[in-house]
Symmetry: C2
């Protein structure tokens, strides 16, 4: 917790900061991509409702009218951001789990990567999760199965781990919920506490193993 708004610092970096480099890399033209990053920063800093297209344009170094060359509205920008965020985190978590040797190792790797992801992409994660209810129904229809697939990734690991006697879980629904929730909330508190991603991942990986009743194991690989 801090009196300094961590988002102010991010907004001051502007849309060219390295953390945004892997977002919308294939979006052309460049001005179109820059508007997405600007909208992301504005939504994270002040919320979707309080953000105007004028502010998004200003941060991108463009005129307000230029926004409408690329996007119908700020709603369309939110839609693109919401869908990208969900696609990206699911892809990254699938990769993390694929490298695992066994189910418990999968849960540990999931949690390590998921926590670190929410540090790296804290602004994106805040918009994705806290502005979810502002997405139009079409976008919700895209996003809902992506969220379900993320939960299924963990549920499958837990089912396998229990079947193989690698884990002891009485309530797998609560375990899945808690693991996802722990990761998402990182995006809220990160910035005030400034825990480095390389440090947080392994610590949360160990906690994940406790939640699923698996013995501790080496972290960080």
């Amino acid at each position: 917790m801090s009196a300094i708004n961590p988002l102010d610092a991010a907004a001051a970096l502007g849309p060219e900061a390295s953390v945004f480099e892997d977002l919308w890399r294939d979006v052309q033209p460049e001005t179109s991509r820059r508007l997405l990053v600007s909208a992301l920063i504005c939504f994270a800093a002040r919320g979707f409702h309080a953000t105007t297209t004028r502010e998004i344009a200003r941060l991108a170094g463009m005129s307000p009218a230029a926004v409408y060359v690329h996007y119908r509205s700020k709603n369309e920008l939110l839609e693109r951001i919401g869908i990208t965020g969900h696609e990206l985190v699911l892809r990254d978590m699938r990769e993390a789990v694929e490298a695992a040797t066994g189910a418990a190792d999968g849960v540990r790797r999931f949690m390590e990567s998921f926590a670190a992801w929410h540090v790296r992409h804290a602004l994106l994660a805040r918009v994705v999760n806290y502005e979810l209810h502002n997405l139009p129904p079409d976008a919700i229809a895209v996003v809902r199965p992506l969220r379900a697939a993320m939960e299924a990734l963990l549920r499958d690991l837990i089912d396998r781990g229990v079947a193989d006697d690698e884990m002891a879980v009485e309530d797998s629904e609560a375990a899945v919920l808690a693991l996802i929730s722990l990761g998402i909330d990182v995006a809220r508190w990160f910035g005030a506490r400034r825990t480095a991603p390389s440090d947080l991942g392994p610590r949360y990986g160990s906690i994940a193993l406790r939640i699923v009743g698996a013995p501790p194991r080496p972290t960080g690989e």
Copy 2:
């Protein structure tokens, strides 16, 4: 996750809903109290920046000018809400822990109550945690020790539990962070999933015992 905004439903209830009854009960006159509840609903639904004093007044059934009879600005309303929220949750968690028989039982009772609190006071918790960076420095100075006291409550339990061999914790800093974080994030997802408080508390109480390496124990009392 849901296409329906759970806050819409809460806002439709209006400031007289029973969940708000235990907030600001001693604030007089009644119009002054009603403005606090209206501001809470507006901030939770659309965010602090997007909310106007006109909207707060309308939900309270008052004229915009009447707001300024009671409060200098919407900032003052946020300040009152932020401080009340922190005072209330700390008081309730202290009560929960006082009833405990031993440190592990204290952790279980803390988590049960903390999770249930974030269901019951989901709107208040969202404003308290997601608008924290919008509080003025004076309010931050009040709130910071309340947050520290909440963490100290858990840290003391863990220290005692480890000393008494009731718990096995390698990393008490991460454990405290995870337990607090799990509870706070309930306010984000609650409404979309509709898990009842009486159900969630015991399930999260069991997970808390796992996180601190304590054996399972009876829940609910």
